[in-house]
């Protein structure tokens, strides 16, 4: 039946899709059986149709399903051939079988089916007629064929592939020009050639200091300081400007400015919007990663590889300063997703979130609108819905992972040393315990006597009435008394017997009570069959038995683990997360065994990140704090049929979303965790000797302990029943090694999960999946090659992005860089190289640029140096009147455009002028100032008005609370990728600069600074202009400023008057515009 269904599905899919799918999965595609229409209807059936059925169709259906009106869902109901062909969802009528007919499910408005007609319900009688008609074999006399137009969905892949941006990057010769002397490099020649065509001349060269300010703002986001200006002026030699550009490129502020551009493209944000605006921990480390990457000029191909698959590279790129892993931070960009707690449909939620990721990937690296192919093939471009779901499958095969970048400084040699030290500590611990065996028989006898006496009953009674903390206090008193009376060992053993009841030490209690071993009994608990895959250095197999060792605790052995996997056994700082394979939930509870401290166990359904947050999903996240094995149990009735996997996070409290503005805590040195599919029968560990002390002696002497024996021994130590003397040097040695390990430094990244191929969602509905498989492949418009890799295929995807024959990547990246320098891209629509985008103004230049970029090993800085030292860049911003008229958008770049600084640069310039700006890079962001935003439950506490003097890039990007001052100047909403911000010019900006408290506060600080710096009024005015505009004040400006100070009553209140003048300076256009 399944095969037949898929054949039917194939038959009714669009022909070319079928062919392509078959090609990709030859194994699955059987012979294409063409089913003839099942039952030949008797002619008298036609009468029934005409009298009863046709009126229903006419009244309720044909408005949307006829060639004359609309063809919704690809379905025609105005002719027999129409319903025979079916619609996008496949067959709608199975003649003779109303219950197998999609049409009937829909008109009956059954759950899980789309209701039809959508707006009104058919009467019961009408539904019955349709059912009867289908039961009769659906006789239908309307024998018109389907028109070609109705059959053609207009998608011709080959034709679409002819689009300019998909053609190979051409090797172009530099054009000839009339005045080659003007050009300083080849790019200039291309620009000049176009101007020559029009008969226009490039604008005059702008004054050097103006160009310098331009370069500074573009490269670092900062206007030159008076000191920068002095340095620039001091160099009077040939090439002074080029050297200034080099200084700017070498400035660490370069990375800040260019990181921010990329943050726009990948919709960087630190919170998840929706109701609670949860914080995603550690996202700021991605921002720092970008700053370092741009400062180090990481080649864009390497950068791209890291973005897609930094976790999968054979060799990771390391931070030269710390030795930490840089590459693994790259995939973090996928995860700037939004999120809500407790969605009722996790599949729908996944589809929404993945759509955002696909949109971002398409925009950032391909310059394509792949997300437009979610519901159908792209309306204009060579992008199929198979492409969309191919990427979907890739994402679905990837799992959110909190990676430890400090792990890169860990290595096999250190691991070996630590393991050796652990073995020595274990040996010393066991030896220390063995030395106590001599007095154990006496202790055991005494404890048994006490246990048989009234002492036991009294102690239990006394304590059972109390609650913590009284209970703890009382216990301490009892312990002290007992210790005085009986000695410490007897006290410990007796109180253990009286008060505690650990699973692995049942045999001990039995022995103390009955004087003999416990019956062997049955295997314990159910067995599960998860295949566990660990990520991170922390996890290792416990199949040969492991002790959780912590020489910084008195008992040294914290627990014993005899099976499964364990993390934190040698050091809590060796981090990891362990996950199961994917499985499908059948509605029954999901269970497994786990124990540990500070760990978290999550059932991840449909990649839902916020498990634990919402009302229904709170059951999916369990904190683990138990040294006893517990059976974690997740009810799953709400998610029957969904795919899921188990995930156990060592140091789990640190690997989670956070409420409000909370910061994650620090890694604990006490954390550990063990997971297992089964439990040992601990009772077995008590078999063999006739005396308890001999049994324990046996356990302490053997090197071939069984899993059960391991756990029992672990229990004896962890409860303090066996004492450890840490005199042996092995303990200090291990402590030192543990101390030398870097605590984990977390970033949000990905790991590969099971290989997954996502079917196509018909018309974008997650409830209507294609039955034909959709093997993962690279974009059809760029060859559509099958990506046969196991796991997620992200690395293979990255290689396709970077393949020499892929014409988009270098073009898109080089064009973005160009756009940042010249104000508009050669392709104006920097995010869209498809048909809805713009055509390149200089196609040859674009290819020359792209080729040069790749030949220069994808170096951003080299390209920028060329662009900024070109003659074009040094042009004045005053246009030629003819070109201004004929080319108002300045597409041909006759002159440099005037630009307004970005929101961040405006704020930074205000802080720099007032002397508030701190020269401090990196780190967790500053909370935004939100006192001017409405109060709500999710609102974070406000940050300081001046953002602690940090550059704007260090202000946290909280989606529900974007800084209003920045937003007024077009700071992006940070939910969707933005390659080029729209620059608006609105009165709200004037109001912000006139009335925002930040501006007033900083005006005052600036005034105080000026008053301290210089003595004469004229010098102060000159300094003010140098700080604001990076140029000398003109005579009229000095006069104006004197006049202003007079008007502000400078003689009455000097600071107030200068504050007002500074306020005016911030409101002058030249403060925030670059000419």
């Amino acid at each position: 039946m399944a095969l037949l269904e898929s054949v039917i599905q194939l038959k009714f899919s669009r022909t070319w899709t079928v062919i392509k799918l078959m090609f990709r999965s030859l194994k699955l595609a059987g012979p294409l059986i063409v089913l003839s229409s099942a039952l030949e209807a008797a002619p008298e059936g036609h009468l029934f149709f005409e009298e009863k059925v046709r009126p229903i169709l006419a009244e309720h259906c044909l408005k949307c399903h006829s060639e004359e009106k609309k063809i919704k869902g690809g379905l025609l109901l105005d002719r027999k051939a129409g319903w025979e062909k079916g619609g996008d969802s496949g067959t709608v009528i199975v003649p003779g079988k109303p219950d197998k007919s999609l049409l009937m499910h829909m008109v009956r408005r059954e759950a899980d089916y789309e209701s039809m007609p959508p707006k009104s319900k058919l009467s019961d009688e009408e539904v019955a007629i349709l059912g009867e008609w289908i039961a009769k074999g659906a006789p239908d006399p309307r024998d018109e064929a389907i028109g070609e137009q109705a059959l053609d969905d207009g998608f011709d892949l080959e034709a679409r592939k002819g689009w300019w941006s998909l053609q190979p990057v051409k090797k172009v010769a530099v054009p000839g020009v009339k005045n080659p002397e003007w050009a300083r490099n080849d790019f200039d020649l291309f620009l000049l050639a176009k101007l020559d065509e029009k008969g226009w001349k490039p604008a005059e060269e702008a004054p050097a200091e103006q160009v310098f300010r331009r370069a500074s703002v573009i490269l670092t986001g900062l206007s030159p300081t008076p000191e920068d200006l002095t340095e620039f002026r001091a160099d009077q030699e040939e090439g002074a400007y080029e050297r200034a550009v080099d200084r700017l490129l070498a400035s660490e502020h370069f990375g800040e400015q260019w990181a921010r551009h990329w943050m726009d493209v990948v919709r960087y944000a630190e919170t998840k919007a929706f109701e609670a605006d949860y914080t995603m921990a550690y996202t700021w480390r991605y921002r720092d990663y970008l700053i370092r990457a741009f400062n180090e000029d990481v080649p864009f191909d390497q950068f791209t590889r890291e973005a897609f698959a930094g976790d999968l590279l054979e060799t990771s790129r390391l931070d030269p300063k710390t030795g930490f892993n840089e590459s693994v931070i790259g995939p973090g960009f996928f995860l700037f997703t939004d999120g809500q707690h407790g969605p009722t449909d996790l599949h729908e939620d996944e589809a929404r979130i993945f759509d955002g990721m696909i949109k971002t990937v398409g925009t950032a690296f391909h310059g394509l609108t792949i997300a437009c192919a979610r519901c159908h093939d792209h309306k204009f471009d060579a992008i199929t819905d198979e492409d969309y779901y191919s990427l979907y499958g890739t994402l679905k095969s990837s799992r959110l992972h909190y990676a430890n970048i400090a792990e890169a400084v860990w290595n096999d040699e250190r691991q070996r040393q630590l393991e050796k030290a652990g073995a020595e500590v274990t040996k010393a611990t066991l030896a220390s315990a063995r030395s106590q065996l001599g007095h154990l028989p006496k202790t055991i006898a005494r404890v048994r006597a006490l246990a048989a006496s009234d002492e036991l009953r009294k102690t239990r009674e006394l304590l059972s009435k109390l609650k913590a903390p009284e209970r703890t206090k009382k216990l301490a008193v009892i312990r002290r008394d007992l210790t005085e009376r009986e000695g410490a060992e007897v006290a410990t053993w007796f109180l253990y017997f009286a008060m505690e009841n650990d699973q692995e030490l049942k045999g001990l209690r039995h022995w103390l009570q009955h004087g003999k071993e416990i019956p062997k009994g049955e295997a314990i608990g159910p067995k599960f069959e998860y295949q566990w895959i660990a990520s991170g250095a922390g996890f290792s197999s416990a199949e040969k038995g492991a002790f959780i060792l912590n020489p910084d605790t008195p008992h040294v052995i914290v627990s014993g683990v005899g099976q499964g996997h364990v993390a934190g056994n040698l050091s809590a700082r060796l981090d990891g997360t362990i996950r199961s394979q994917d499985f499908t939930l059948d509605g029954s509870p999901v269970e497994f065994w786990v124990k540990g401290k500070g760990a978290v166990a999550v059932l991840v359904i449909r990649n839902f990140e916020l498990a634990g947050a919402g009302p229904t999903t709170s059951v999916l996240r369990k904190p683990i704090n138990s040294d006893q094995w517990i059976k974690v149990r997740y009810p799953t009735t709400l998610w029957k049929g969904e795919t899921a996997f188990l995930e156990v996070r060592h140091q789990g409290d640190l690997k989670t979303h956070l409420r409000g503005a909370q910061a994650p805590g620090s890694p604990s040195d006490l954390a550990w965790v063990a997971v297992s599919n089964s439990l040992p029968n601990w009772n077995e560990a008590w078999q063999g000797e006739t005396l308890l002390d001999e049994r324990i002696g046996n356990l302490l002497s053997r090197s071939d302990l069984s899993p059960a024996e391991h756990e029992v021994l672990g229990g004896l130590f962890s409860k303090g029943l066996l004492k450890v003397d840490q005199g042996d040097p092995a303990f200090a040695a291990m402590k030192a090694l543990r101390q030398a390990i870097d605590p984990p430094v977390y970033v949000r990244s990905l790991v590969d999960g099971d290989e997954h191929h996502e079917p196509i969602y018909i018309r974008g509905s997650h409830k209507s999946l294609s039955k034909a498989p959709n093997p993962r492949h690279f974009l059809d418009g760029l060859g559509g090659d099958r990506l046969s890799e196991t796991g997620s295929g992200r690395l293979a995807w990255a290689e396709k992005v970077l393949a020499p024959e892929n014409p988009l990547t270098a073009r898109v990246r080089a064009n973005r860089i160009w756009a940042r320098v010249f104000g508009r891209g050669i392709v104006g629509s920097v995010d869209d190289f498809g048909k809805m985008g713009e055509l390149p103004s200089h196609p040859e230049l674009l290819d020359f640029l792209a080729r040069d970029f790749v030949e220069e090993r994808w170096s951003t800085k080299k390209l920028l140096r060329k662009l900024l030292t070109s003659s074009a860049f040094r042009m004045s911003s005053v246009p030629d009147s003819l070109s201004a008229q004929l080319d108002p958008d300045n597409k041909l770049l006759q002159h440099m455009p005037i630009r307004r600084m970005d929101a961040e640069s405006i704020r930074d310039h205000i802080l720099a002028s007032s002397g508030t700006l701190k020269n401090e890079l990196y780190g967790r962001g500053v909370l935004p100032y939100v006192n001017d935003q409405p109060n709500s439950r999710a609102k974070p506490p406000t940050g300081p008005l001046d953002g602690e003097g940090r550059r704007s890039i260090y202000i946290q990007v909280r989606r529900n609370f974007l800084p209003s001052f920045l937003r007024a100047f077009d700071f992006p909403p940070s939910t969707e990728p933005v390659g080029q911000r729209p620059i608006t010019t609105v009165p709200a900006q004037s109001l912000a600069l006139l009335n925002h408290p930040l501006v007033h506060e900083q005006s005052r600080k600036w005034a105080e600074r000026i008053l301290k710096s210089e003595v004469s009024v004229e010098d102060r005015i000159k300094l003010l202009h140098r700080q604001a505009f990076a140029r000398e004040a003109r005579a009229d400006e000095i006069i104006w400023a004197f006049g202003a100070l007079g008007k502000f009553d400078v003689s009455v209140d000097q600071t107030a008057a200068w504050s007002s003048l500074c306020h005016l300076m911030m409101n002058r256009k030249e403060f925030l515009y670059v000419f």
Binding site: P343, G614, T616, K939, S964, V986, P987, L991, N995, P997
Partner: protein, 450 residues
Amino acid sequence: MHRGSMGFGSLALAGLLDKEAQAAPQGRHFQPKAKSVIFLYMDGGVSHVDSFDPKPLLAKENGQKPKFEVEATVFNNNGNILKSPWEFKNYGESGIPVSDLFPYIGSCADDLAVIRSMTAFSANHPSANYSLHSGQILAGRPSMGAWASYGLGSENQDLPGYVVIHGGQVPSGGMPMTGSGFLPAAHQPSVLHPKGVVLRNISALEKKVGLQEDKLALLREIESKLTERRSDSDLINAAVKNYEMAYRMQMAVPEVTDVSKEPDHIKKMYGLEASYNNTRTYGAQCLMARRLVEKGVRFIELTINGGNGDRWDQHGGLRDGHQKNALAVDQPIGALIKDLKQRGLLDSTLIVFAGEFGRTPFAQGRDGRDHNPQGFSIWMAGGGIKGGTIYGATDEYGYHAIENKLTVHDLHANMLHLMGVDHTKQTFRYGGRDVRLTDVHGEIIPEIMA
């Protein structure tokens, strides 16, 4: 064709950059019925079976296990059928039934078109809120108000085209849901507050009288030299000019939002003297809305005030919570309709009353109701709406819309239509598509049009 200028959102110039060209108002496609829209956003989800969609069967089967299949809800703590604690009365000539929650609104029944077949795209507040505002269950998409501003701007140079009068309760999903998304930031709402500082950055901070005026004069003086020198640059000239507009707004906004000078009978009518604090707040919001309409503001959204027991979101304590919420909004809304009418403005002002979804006909816990996106009621009144109309229907329990089912796309399409905008033609190029507020959906409903 009259093209309104854009007030706050204004770009005094078009054609600087492509993006900016798109920021200029697109204009109307046909004669509008409504010049302004007031969107009364009932945050949290009003229970339709307790307000505008009476279901006698709920009383009959009260306390019984639902006889229909119950779909997953947010809390999934679903109980038995819960009858409405309120009685319904038929109002006006049309006889539209309205529950005792809303006697004032009920008294305007003949002006209302009650839509009983609304549906939502999500059962979660944020997603449903996002889609009610933008048509998409996504954060960060442009809201209907932003689209209205983008399409039509403002009639008044000195006032914003799109205003949110914030009652105090930030909707679940955050204030950015009322934002401009990928539309130019010019179309962000100006968020007005009925108490305290009316609008961010609207008040001069200079304490000394005349100081700001002095500053502006000095600024004008020095900038005029720049604009002379760079007369070629529209960008610079527009940026300079904006200071004049900013100053005018600084005057106009406090003036238009100051309800204290309204006559006493009007204040009383809106509930400004009511004993319940939230009635006074919402009354002031409604009165501000009327004053803004008079000045030609295009799109005004009212968020409700907090402190009514979690918005309209009564997962428990339905009777108390809904009663308090209704007490806060009913009188002011009734007054708004009547006041607009007596001023002859109702015909040109579209009022929309809607939450993000309705509530279940069965109980959550003992005395609450969970979210019900499958069918609920909203109403429209005023500009271009046929009063006294009931459109669409839910099933006999009020669980699913079964007749003339509508989505937010349809709501938006009709709102734009009444404003003179063809929702299929108002587009913005984004992400490779000419995006519409209504995506590829939305149908005009002739039955509710006057």
